[in-house]
Symmetry: C2
Subunit: 565 residues, 2 copies
């Protein structure tokens, strides 16, 4: 069991909010994963991604238990042997509990329900003429995949809450929609937040889901005290979905929904990055090396960069199409610009993703063939999982293209402008969550409008130095002001309000034991949460914090090496 | 020029509302079209479709001018010769004015912008990973197609209003979104309604349109006094779109939007059919003949019917997939059921539609191959434009499948239950506009859920006689109570309220002439309409009407033969 580190590693205001409370975090993907080394032994590796990076900060500082799925055969083997891992290795401060989800359950949950079904619905990506089309397989994947997956989490988290004096449960993302209701059904009365890291669609598109999914998904989420999203647009969409699809009573002013489980407060908490972490990573030798290589390729050319998972949400095809249009309309730029596309393959178990990757390679080949010469290749496509290379590209770029069809937040849009050595111009889709914050200093594009995107690329390439510098300064300022600590701060502050109500009212039910609580007790808990004080909106800033603590916290995050034997 | 017929042909309450007012109707498709006969001469034919049938009633009774596009080469030739046609032929009571839209303008407007772009956006049909993708062609099709098309209408309608003492302008559908603003810019101060016959999507999906379309579309619609849709869902979506995309001030209670053009009232008017018209048509000899043929094919089998345009919105592929699932799960039904699919090819100038038709033929072949025997073909696919045959199928059916992905209203869902000789069970998509009225007596399905649709088909086939009869009675009652006269009545009543305000305030600006009005005058007109009295919601019923008048009106509609030499 991990020995908690000092609270001082957490920025003061977060520590104040947490008090003696311990976090129980639930997310499908965990913060670390086991991978075999060349000598055959398993090594534990730190995972990337915005969620992990942001949550790690409080996990370490609150001696959290982080419940996650053992998704690979290696993780599964380790989890069956001993599910609890003290982390970070060598200097443990929190605990990861890996759930050994059986492979067939995981496959149904992940490859049929979570991706592509929920993912595509939440990003408006289905070609509805033909897909989705639900049959017995879908129903089985739901019942014996997604539901079972959530039940396994609920069992484990309820158990953790039972052995923790003052738990605060923070569930993450679309993988765990059912978990809040399952926790309540298991007698868990802890304050409970759920955060969705993807967009929430309008009610009519949410209705694309079969009724045996949409009803429990809404009931599940509305069993949480706080439901969080990245933007006000998603909050509004969720509130409308609750009213129109679920028939719930919704207060649009207070952003609250009444259900049998009590009151749920719905809030936007735009996720961000840790400035010091990313700056430190971007300064690593590995990044400098790769910048050198990029410089050799690019020469004097203006550098356009994109860095994405090869996911249909990212709109990679139209990005290249826009670049092609620009090269057609501005022949004077041929040979004077280069497009580095740093992609990494993802979800290759799903046909849509394999096809998408093939289409990407195809359009790159066609653009390079149309305009390429012996000296100049217009697009440099790199398909690899090399974060250092992405950082090197972002540091080197003059123009950063972030044009997703729809995207929950998109942290590349925040990382790039922060670390760019060249005051990069951000060409940003109005459908990226980041647009709500960064819209005023980017060049905004409709992601379906290749003509407009081509013009924006041209404008970015030819923008004068002063304008670039001014925009870049604004973008940096936006990212610095709302970093990942603030994302957590606002959630913990709101959860604290809920907890005060819970503490003063539902303690007796906790005493009755976690798994024998009857529905009456659940109702008590709901009634308690229904009186949770409404928090302000938009959220107020946290009190000014002492920078030493903050940089300590950042260090404690960044100092975790990416691979630990 | 047509001599108006007596007002008595119109149901009393409509006549009262119209008073001395004359309608100027604008719709892309007109009520009649010219077609060559075998002897080479052109004959004028009555067009079908819910819009034409419903509007014809008031057109005839108000001596309306119906402005429409000459869309075929024959219509264009006739329109260039003489754009005005007195109709119906032989017994004229209103006038059709055909606009000779140049072929290239029409092609851009129709085949690029209206279909598939607007159509697919309003039905959530794009495969957003790949389409739409806007380039210079899209912009040109907008500027030199859709905009020009609307301008041509605005010029003609402004002219008609100028020569009509008390005009009421009723614009129809997604082809004419820009027309209201263009009319105001031309000084037209007449009360103006716009009715959209397709769904209105949520704000986020509306944003799929490029900004150079969505801004003028909203400005266009908000220049109308009344904006109508088929259902409350579309009204809500439109109001949200106005607020979220356009940034307009929206009163969700009153269902009104404030814009620079004043106040626009947004209302649901569910379109319907004329009971007497459809009953009369369904009793025609041509229908009886075709029923005979169907009976020979079906024998004692239970008859499932669908009757649709071969449009992706209609969800024809999943309908057959559901039927296949049902035959798999219920082998005892093989040979005892037959599925008549009465389809007619549509928009074959568009690749999506050609591909869709091919996919339909493919799945039919596969299902017939999987289950068919020498004696029994499970699906009888008929691709033809034979309304009598559709009526024959509807009269003969035990089960009517109406499972659109999304559909503005879907009049088959109203026609079928009304004329079925066999108390047909309606299996209805929850995404058809008709579902808002008919949901309580149909078997509702999620159109994407083939498993559920298969179960609903099975339930419908095996439903006992009493249950069938009770449901059928409720469905008939719903259709009878809200017929096409009521659809018009509510619109005219609300327009009448607007007109009272306009009459008392904007007469002076009318005097200043139609085409020389400056923006100040437009503002005056806007200010007037902004004080239009809000009408109640939901709309109250019209006063009880004398049935003789009503059946007269119906006769005047149905007596128009479908083909007139």
């Amino acid at each position: 069991m991990a020995e908690p580190t000092e609270r001082s590693e957490l920025p003061n205001e977060l520590a104040d909010l947490l008090g003696d409370r311990r976090l129980v975090i639930g997310s499908s993907r965990g913060p670390y994963t086991f991978l075999p080394q060349s000598d055959g032994r398993l090594a534990i590796n730190r995972c990337g991604g915005g969620l992990v990076t942001a949550m790690m900060c409080v996990a370490e500082a609150s001696a959290a238990t982080w419940v996650c799925a053992a998704s690979s055969p290696h993780d599964r083997a380790m989890a069956e042997h001993d599910p609890r891992v003290a982390l970070p290795p060598g200097n443990p401060s929190f605990e990861m509990r890996m759930l050994p989800i059986p492979e067939d359950v995981y496959d149904r949950y992940y490859n049929t329900i979570a991706n592509p079904l929920l993912w595509f619905v939440q990003h408006y990506l289905w070609d509805l003429t033909r897909e989705p089309s639900y049959d017995d397989t879908t129903l089985a994947a739901w019942n014996e995949g997604y539901v079972t997956f959530n039940e396994t989490f609920a069992d484990a988290i309820a158990e953790e809450c039972g052995s923790t004096p003052e738990p605060l449960v923070m569930l993450q993302d679309y993988h765990l929609y059912l978990c809040p209701a399952m926790l309540r059904a298991r007698g868990c009365t802890a304050p409970l937040t759920h955060f969705t890291h993807v967009p929430w669609p309008g009610p009519e598109y949410f209705r694309v889901l079969p009724s045996y999914m949409r009803t429990p998904i809404l009931e599940g989420l509305l069993s949480a005290d706080i439901v969080g999203f990245h933007t006000q647009r998603y909050v509004q969409n969720f509130l409308w979905t609750c009213r129109q699809v679920g028939g719930y009573e919704v207060d649009f002013e207070k952003q609250q929904v009444e259900s049998a489980s009590g009151t749920t407060t719905v809030r936007a908490y735009p996720i961000s990055i840790s400035e010091s972490t990313i700056r430190e990573l971007a300064a690593a030798d590995e990044v400098e090396d790769r910048m050198e290589t990029l410089r050799e390729v690019a020469g004097d050319a203006t550098v356009i960069v994109r860095a994405d998972r090869a996911d249909p949400t990212k709109n990679i095809l139209r990005g290249f199409e826009a670049y092609r249009l620009m090269l057609r309309n501005h022949p004077e730029l041929r040979g004077k610009v280069v497009f580095f596309a740093m992609l990494y393959a993802t979800r290759t178990g799903i046909e849509h993703y394999r096809r998408y990757l093939a289409e990407i390679e195809d359009i790159v080949a066609r653009v390079n063939q149309e305009f390429g010469t012996e000296e100049w290749r217009p697009i440099r496509l790199r398909i690899a999982d090399d974060y250092f290379e992405s950082l090197a590209a972002m540091r080197s770029c003059d123009v950063l293209l972030v044009n997703p069809v729809f995207d929950g937040m998109n942290l590349v849009a925040k990382e790039g402008p922060l670390i760019s050595d060249r005051d990069c111009v951000l060409v940003l889709s109005e459908n990226a969550g980041a647009y709500e914050e960064m819209g005023r200093a980017c060049l905004a594009v409709n992601p379906f409008d290749c003509r407009q995107t081509a013009e924006a690329l041209y404008e970015a390439i030819t923008m004068d130095k002063k304008d670039r510098a001014e925009r870049a300064a604004v973008l940096r300022e936006i990212v610095s002001r709302n970093d990942s600590v603030k994302w957590l701060y606002h959630q913990l502050r709101d959860a604290d309000e809920v907890a005060k109500v819970c503490n003063s009212r539902s303690k007796p039910t906790t005493a009755s034991g976690p798994s024998t609580v009857k529905s009456a007790d659940v109702t008590t808990s709901s009634a308690a949460s229904s009186e949770a004080t409404a928090t302000e909106n938009p959220p107020t800033d946290p009190p000014s914090r002492s920078s030493p603590n903050r940089s300590n916290a950042a260090t404690s995050v960044t100092s975790s090496p990416r691979t630990i034997a």
